[in-house]
Amino acid sequence: MRVSLKWLKQLVDVDLAPEELAERLDMTGTVIEAVETLGASLEGVVVGRILTKERHPEAEKLWVTTVDTGGEEPLNIVCGAQNFEAGDKVPVATIGTELPNGMKIKKAKLRGITSEGMNCSAAELGVGADESGIMVLPEDAPVGAPFAEYHGTADTVLELEVTPNRPDCLSMAGIAREVGAITGRKATIPSATPKEQGQPIAESVRVTIEDPGLCARYTARLIRGVSIGPSPDWMIERILAAGQRPVNNVVDITNYVMFELGQPLHAFDASKLGIDEEGNAHVIVRRAKEGERLTTLDGQDRALSTDVLLICDPTGPIALAGVMGGESTEVCEETVDILLESASFDTACTSRTSRSLGLISEASMRFERGVDPNGCANAADRAAALLAELCDGDVAPGIVDEYPRKAEARGVSLRISRLNDVLGTDISAEEVEGILTSLGLGVAGGPETFDLTVPTFRPDIEREVDLIEEVVRVWGMERVASTLPGGRERIGRLTYEQRWRERIERTLRAAGLNETMTYSFGDPGDMDRLGWDLPAGEVPVKLLNPMSEEQAVMRRTLAPGLLRSVSYNQRRDVDNVHLYEAGTVFWTEAGSKQPHEGARVAGVLAGRWHSPEWHDPKPSQASDERDRTQAELRSPELNFFDGKGLVEALVSDLGVERFKVRVEEYPWLQPGRSAELIVNGQVAGWVGEVHPRVLDAFDAHGPVVMFELAMDVLTAAAVPLRQYSEIPRFPAVELDIALVVEESVSAERVEQAITSAGGKVLEGVRLFDVYMGAGVPEGKKSLAYALTYRASDRTLTDEEVRPQHEKLLRKVASAVGAELRA
């Protein structure tokens, strides 16, 4: 809502500077989006006096003038207007001026004669509609004075953000009332009683509201014999300040009254309205029928759905109620008689219609928020009086007023004690009474409880709490003292799961992963890219109105987002990528309303932990072809075991009792480098190196290691309390063994064999070397373990351990088919 201060000052006495007024409005609930100074653009335009006027020697229609603008020398100005004489005072745009229409005034030669400025028309200056000639100013205009100052075009416009609960503030009158309340002045709400003549309207116009649910009131006025033409300058100025283009006097008056009183009006050409059997113009307010169409003012032929409210005549639709008029009854230059509509339409219906047709106008915006039916007649009278005054119209006696659903002022009471209890204040009954009175409410009762009568232009005030809000915003929120709640029964804490989730993330960060966030949206093609088949019955969570095809579903896994992040980094030559994300994934199934949500934590590794450093161990050389894989796994390039290691660190930190990996293939992971993660017997997720084909699909290159875990499985397996176990008091005996086994024998199997053969004194098993190559037969591998023997009650001697160790070796060798290596 654009508020011209010049206009506002006609309605309420404001003596605050524009900035102060803006600040007061801001602090009482009306946000100021911008403060615009009008007339500033007329800088450089001054009052001048034509000294001489001679024919241009080369052009019959041009004049060469000399103009006194108060400077030392008069200016030479070539001018094409015909409506002036030497001695006239005119507005002169000097060199360097930029006019409101964007024209820049430069020194120029016109048919050989230099022109040092421009004599301007009202239209060129944006202060009127007249473009037929230059603007001749009164004789007393002071030569050299800035035109804006002299003419009084200087104005300040406040651009207000009106909250949806305050339809009354979408009018100058409402803003004036608001300003009056916050400055303690009384606002004048414009009204008029038009002079009436001729045949009463009731004898020629009839209105029928077929759907009173969507139209609370419909009033009409008939104005005969109008002459269509430009509006007077003062009105054009107001219309421009309000942000609208002037059209003609009739249209401008309807707009002017809308801005003034907040009541949208529509003018029909009365001669174009269809008549009923008795010869009366008949306006019918009803819903559209199946298949009906209407060509609106903008020339568009529109198909109408049955929830659209229409204004019709006996022949069919003539306007979209509250949204836009129809072309067939439009006011044009030949229009003589006008039927003026001032009505109140349903908010939701207007909103649906204007949005579904993409027609959002000043009128629809007001109806959408609510137009006070009790204001319709006053606005009709006000506009009729202006039509009489400015268009020479004859206002027909009377008003047609169909008012099926009368809006009544509401009664609400307010307890002063409740007000101060809720606010934490000590505002007196007198202050409350003063504030509510200034807002236009009727105040009775008191001092403990007031009974208020709320005028219908304030539909937002329905309950006691609404009155409390009115009081505090006008009284001043800044005056409410700050306190802290004194509640006794509160304890600040995180839940058990929240604490573990934080700990899981902390552990991953400590292990070197950086947290990231990716979109919760997914590309419907992502699951195909991964080769991930949804379990039977499960379907993706689809958005009905996605921003794009690439974000049309909700993600089922964090993997695609992280792979895109790897690609993003790699494409920018950032090759060492260590990321994790903790986020929500979504799934659903037929028959389900709300989708399921699951918390996941996933990590991705690519490149190395860091680029080569001076202290890195020198890479080991593969002894032969067979050892190459082992050499690769020992290199600083991140691989499967770095991913698995992160998961191991995590479950160790959580104190998980039983953790294992199971060989498992996943379509998005490289076979032979992928595993299922089992926590306390439950599948918790997967880890592996991403399949090269999948990397291709995500424009990334490998190796890329990923894991994804279900947060709830992890937090459920976390052990919050771990009992003390004794620190060894006696020394251990450490013995190394090397076993040569078939390549297909898993490390897990060998370790199990060792553990089960070890007996009570075997404390630990650590695999410290895996070797394939020279010295080990084809198809075999050598596994070297360090075994720790220890007794808790004595120092073990070599002699005591040896036989046990020998026995263990024999058992293990037969269990896994191992040979001992020297």
Partner: protein, 353 residues
């Protein structure tokens, strides 16, 4: 030469040899030469038997004196040489301490979660619990129970993401579907009040969604932190005091707040909270667009209509609620020029905070 003179000479030579031993090995050779099984002094002691009983005590004593003084000198020399040896070893081990350390850097927390955690911690300190709710939410929780009228524009398909409802139930909302991606964290208020009884002091961080095209200042997904307090005797002054404390903790002790009345469907009275600009301290600068203030929060007293949906007695209990955008705080506090950086996963960005 008598035995006594011989011993005297042996001691002098021995002491000289000890003194001139340059390392532990030659010192040990000296020890062996004099005190070893075949050493010189040992030889003298062995010869004692050949001496007369009269001579024996004197020579025995003299040779013991020599042994003691040699042993003492040996110990001293050994200590000296060991010290020197250690020093030499340490000196040889000196390194260029300006070489980079062996480091594996811990990972960083994402800026948005870092800020969220900061906010949550401030409210944990004020006695709040952390509540959560679904991101794919029902219209009822996101709009209806938060007192949004059926035709509220926020329900428009142009603003809110709607999720396919597979229940085949008739849609009872006015939106596209009964299921949507929550547009704010406020539905958690309703869930908390449905599940618990006052007094309630909760903070609810989470991801929310709005149909905005991703650009430097918008993302279709972002994060909010919601606060809700419901208790007896709560006042608007408590809301002011709480948020004033929060803003000072979050942005700095010297920052001021101001409350501007505003409108939200689910609070009444409602306000927007500005914090004084940290660059110009309220004088007005480019950062705060000349106003001296930065808008940070929306807040208000829980509307009685909302209490009605969750069956809380609005005469007995008063509540306040507030909400803030984490990305906005990130942009303001950390000078992030483009919010899209938050979802790209660029290591060079993530490693900065």
């Amino acid at each position: 030469m008598g035995v006594a003179e011989e011993l005297e000479e042996m001691r002098d030579e021995g002491l000289a040899a000890i003194a001139s031993a340059e390392d532990l090995a030659s010192l040990d050779a000296v020890r062996v030469a004099y005190l070893g099984k075949k050493g010189l002094l040992t030889g003298v002691l062995r010869g004692l038997g050949q001496l007369s009983p009269q001579e024996r005590p004197a020579v025995g004593k003299a040779s013991n004196d020599v042994r003691e003084s040699l042993e003492k000198a040996l110990a001293e020399r050994r200590a000296h040489l060991e010290e020197a040896h250690l020093e030499a070893r340490v000196a040889a081990g000196a390194v260029d301490v300006t070489l980079p350390g062996r480091v594996r850097l811990p990972g960083r927390e994402h800026l948005i979660n870092m800020i969220t955690r900061e906010i949550v911690e401030i409210f944990l300190g004020l006695g709040y619990e952390v509540a959560e709710g679904p991101e794919a939410e029902l219209d009822y929780y996101n709009f209806t129970a938060l007192n949004h009228p059926p035709a509220h524009p926020a329900r428009a398909a142009s603003d809110t993401f709607y999720v396919q409802d597979l229940s085949m139930e008739t849609v009872d909302s006015t939106g596209e579907s009964d299921v949507l991606l929550r547009t704010h964290t406020s539905p958690v208020q309703i869930r908390v009040m449905e599940q618990g009884k006052p007094p309630l002091y909760v903070i609810a961080p989470g991801r929310v969604y709005r149909r905005d095209i991703a650009d430097p200042s918008h993302l279709p997904q972002f994060h909010q932190v919601e606060g809700l307090v419901v208790d007896e005797g709560i006042t608007f002054g408590d809301l002011k005091g709480t948020l004033d404390y929060f803003c000072k903790e979050m942005f700095g002790r010297d920052r001021r707040t101001r409350f501007r009345p505003h409108f939200f469907p689910f609070t009444e009275p409602s306000a927007e909270v500005d914090v004084s600009c940290g660059i110009c301290d309220g004088a007005g600068c480019r950062f705060c667009k000349g106003t001296g203030w930065l808008e940070i929060l929306g807040c208000g007293m829980v509307d009685p209509n909302v209490f009605e949906y969750v069956a809380v007695d609005s005469e007995r209990y008063v509540g306040f609620a507030f909400g803030m955008g984490v990305e906005r705080i990130a942009a303001l506090k950390y000078n992030i020029p483009d919010l899209r950086m938050l979802v790209e996963g660029d290591m060079r960005f993530l490693r900065q905070f």
